[in-house]
């Protein structure tokens, strides 16, 4: 950036130096010639300095105009115009100066006239070079390889002409005619590149026309001024820099004027159709708005509003409505320049006349329903176009466009709005999919929290006694389950055990599990009989379990003083008990309804408590249905028999060994460690103390 700035300054400085040298040398040559003296400077110096001046200016404008990306088309024309304005003003100031001098000797002095003439010429060249840079930008807008080459050839020829001018050689008649033809052809070929005109809007076109007109005016003024002063000087002496001998200036001027005229005419003839181009451009922009509305965190409502606005502006509708069935099945109405009542009237009218169209959301075809409106009294609308909005192959709404003119819609309009409607459908679909993804992510996050909660509800250590040892194992499937087990020492010879399974999964299961834990810890302390424990637990849970939810549980009290176990089974899997003496394992299938099933005090009629004595070497296996219902790849369940068999195989082992063996058997049976449920086991091994 700084480098560019330095180059701009260098180019400007160079051009000023070159011009001062030009002026000084030219005046010197002319003065010497008038005085009949040999000039102190070479006669070719003015020509070369003019070339240097032009080259410096060329680079100056290259940086100022050609490489400035912030300029648009009218800005480019404005730059040309502004340069013209400044140069004209400067020129006029000098003209005023000459005028005030009147018929004094200085005013009629040829050398002074040359000075003024050279100033004007410099201003003209300045203007031409600035215009060249702008024209280049315009021509090379939407460039092709071929166009770039053509322009390069043109610039090389200009350079050639520049060298030719400064060298002061002359071609033969034929040679110069040929050169003129080549240059003329190139100028015409380049002038055909007018693509930028199409991108101007109506207002910009008018501005451009005005700017071009003023540009022509400046050119005419300069040529007139320079020509007049040149004539005056030429009458006295030929020894000065005559622009008429400078081919480059003529070529440049011709090019600037020809392209200017072409542009002027093209813009002029494009004026009537510019509204169509603008319309097309607006359609593209609207289309983009609809497709991008999804990315900019907007909601469905803004998609509908954009759709309504875009459609209306694209087909110049007088009014419109959009009827949508939202994600939660609610009907929503958006209207544009009409009341909801009016739209209701029209729909009722169509319904009454039994017109099957998209308005009843029954078909998916866009329909022009204008002819049906003709029979409707009291409506200002005479044209109606209706489009379905389709999301996931489901018609979710209708877009209706209205006009007060009869036959107001053509095929082209139908096609455009139909594209809008399709795009809006896609946007809404994307939006809903995204919403769903968000919900899923939130749900997953919730599950993760619930799982952590559930894990933290399980005890970290279990009660141990010199009479028995307890180990437990619990694993849950991907979802959060509701398996719960716990132990609590009531006093020095009583220990309470519980295993429970909450129906359902997810956060509610974890929630109910925490309630069960609370109930267990408060009731077990009170040294209740198992039946009473279950009755009170049921009574407490009835208030927090929703209809259809229940908790199956088994509750045990091990009495180490009397060597007996008193227990109650509330709908839970029957406990498996292995007696060491008989080496037989039995399921204790007592009666008992799950907690929460009977929502009254009658519950005590559906639950019972029993007791048995234990002996050292016995094993009590508590488990949840995740173990017995685990399936192998054939679809068979692990079942009670396999569980009992597995226990029998390790009858004499320690609690931990039994647990490991049972889990191993389970995994071997199911063929995987991923069992599609929660599974929990609690093993109590009685021992000699």
């Amino acid at each position: 950036m700084n480098k560019n700035k330095a180059l701009v300054r260098l180019a400007l400085f160079g051009s000023i130096v070159a011009w001062l040298a030009l002026l000084f040398s030219d005046v010197t040559v002319l003065f010497s010639n008038l005085q009949g003296l040999q000039p102190d400077v070479p006669v070719w110096l003015p020509r070369v300095m003019l070339a240097a001046y032009i080259v410096c200016l060329y680079y100056y404008y290259k940086f100022r105009i050609e490489l400035d990306d912030s300029l648009n088309f009218t800005d480019l024309l404005w730059k040309v115009f502004a340069t013209g304005l400044i140069t004209t003003v400067v020129s006029l100031i000098f003209r005023l100066l000459v005028f005030t001098l009147g018929k004094t000797s200085l005013a009629t002095n040829v050398v002074f006239s040359d000075l003024i003439c050279q100033i004007n010429l410099a201003l003209l060249v300045n203007f031409l070079v600035a215009a060249l840079a702008s024209w280049k930008r315009l021509i090379l807008y939407q460039k092709s390889k071929w166009l770039i080459r053509t322009w390069l050839v043109f610039e090389l020829i200009l350079l050639g002409v520049l060298l030719y001018d400064s060298a002061g050689i002359t071609f033969s008649e034929n040679g110069s005619t040929f050169m003129n033809l080549v240059i003329g052809g190139l100028v015409l070929a380049l002038s055909a590149n007018m693509r930028w005109v199409a991108y101007l809007n109506f207002k910009q076109k008018w501005t451009s026309l005005l700017l071009l007109l003023l540009t022509f005016f400046y050119l005419a003024y300069f040529f007139y001024t320079v020509e007049r002063s040149t004539e005056t000087i030429a009458k006295v002496s030929p020894a000065f820099l005559d622009y008429r001998n400078q081919l480059l200036i003529l070529v440049l001027a011709a090019f600037i004027i020809i392209y200017g005229i072409f542009s002027f005419l093209v813009i002029l003839f494009n004026l009537p159709t510019s509204s169509v181009f603008e319309q097309k451009l607006e359609e593209v922009v609207n289309f983009q708005r609809i497709s991008q509305s999804i990315q900019t965190e907007q909601d469905e409502e803004s998609v509908y509003n954009i759709l309504l606005e875009s459609s209306v502006s694209s087909v110049f509708a007088d009014a419109a409505w959009l009827e949508i069935t939202g994600a939660a099945n609610e009907r929503r109405m958006f209207t544009y320049r009409m009341t909801e009542q009016e739209s209701r009237n029209i729909r009722e009218h169509l319904e009454k006349n039994n017109i099957k169209g998209v308005l009843d959301s029954g078909t998916e075809k866009t329909k022009n329903l204008s002819r049906h409106l003709a029979s409707m009294k009291g409506s200002r609308f005479r044209s109606l176009l209706a489009f379905p909005i389709v999301v996931k192959e489901e018609n979710i709404g209708t877009l209706a466009l209205l006009k007060e003119l009869p036959e107001g819609f053509n095929k082209e309009m139908t096609r455009i709005v139909s594209t809008f409607a399709n795009q809006a459908g896609i946007s809404i679909e994307n939006f809903r999919l995204m919403e769903e993804a968000f919900q899923n992510a939130r749900y997953k996050e919730e599950l993760k929290i619930a799982k952590t909660v559930q894990q933290s509800l399980l005890p970290t250590r279990l009660e141990q006694d010199k009479d028995f040892e307890i180990v437990a194992f619990s694993a849950s499937a991907d979802e959060v389950g509701g398996d719960y087990y716990d132990t609590l020492r009531v006093n020095d010879h009583l220990v309470a055990l519980i295993i429970a399974d909450v129906s359902g999964k997810g956060t509610t299961a974890a929630f109910h599990m925490s309630q069960m834990k609370g109930i267990f810890h408060s009731l077990a302390q009170q040294h209740l009989d198992p039946k009473e424990f279950m009755s009170r637990a049921n009574q407490a849970l009835v208030f927090c379990l929703e209809r259809g939810s229940f908790i199956s549980a088994s509750y045990f009290i091990i009495d180490t003083q009397e060597k007996k176990i008193r227990y109650s089974r509330a709908g839970h899997c029957p406990v498996l008990y292995l007696r060491a003496d008989s080496k037989e394992s039995v399921y204790l299938k007592d009666k008992g309804a799950a907690l929460g099933m009977v929502r009254s005090r009658d519950y005590c009629n559906y639950i019972e408590a029993n007791e048995f004595t234990y002996a050292p070497g016995d094993t009590m296996l508590l488990y949840t249905d995740g173990i017995t219902e685990a399936k192998n790849n054939k679809g068979d369940e692990f079942g009670n028999d396999r569980l009992a068999a597995a226990l029998n195989e390790v009858a004499g082992a320690s609690a931990k060994e039994i647990e490991n063996h049972i889990i191993k058997s389970l995994y071997e049976f199911s063929g995987s460690k991923n069992i599609n449920d929660d599974y929990t086991s609690m093993t109590v091994k009685f021992k000699n103390n």
């Binding site: 259809g548 199956s552 029957p574 299938k589 309804a593 009977v598």
Partner: protein, 116 residues
């Protein structure tokens, strides 16, 4: 997946449950029973011949109607339960709370007796 069929016989609404009832399909069972209640049937028989499996959520559906049926004097009888399904009912103690019979005739007989 579950498939539910309803047909009427001798003034009773027979809901045939075919397939497996898990957490998601239990909603269909719930809807079928609710519909039957809504249509004013006083005798609702549930044909479980083709019921292969029922999860706790499915059991919860039956459970949730117990009180409503008692208040409205609607008799619900389940029949034709497979051993495995019956076992599930048994373990949870639902067998005590619901009326379960071997076959349709017995179920219908029980429903008629109870309605008197």
């Amino acid at each position: 997946m579950v498939h539910i069929k309803r047909l009427q016989e001798s003034g009773a609404d027979i809901i045939a449950v075919i397939g497996e009832i898990d957490a998601s399909s239990s909603i269909e069972l719930d809807l079928a029973i609710a519909k039957s209640v809504g249509e004013g049937f006083k005798k609702v028989l549930v044909d479980c011949h083709a019921l292969e499996y029922i999860s706790s959520a499915g059991l919860g559906v039956f459970m949730s109607y117990i009180e409503e049926f008692r208040d409205k004097k609607i008799q619900m009888v389940l029949f034709g339960l497979k051993e495995k399904v019956a076992n599930t009912f048994e373990i949870l103690g639902l067998a005590e709370l619901l009326h379960i019979r071997e076959n349709k005739n017995e179920a219908l007989k029980l429903a008629n007796e109870l309605s008197v």
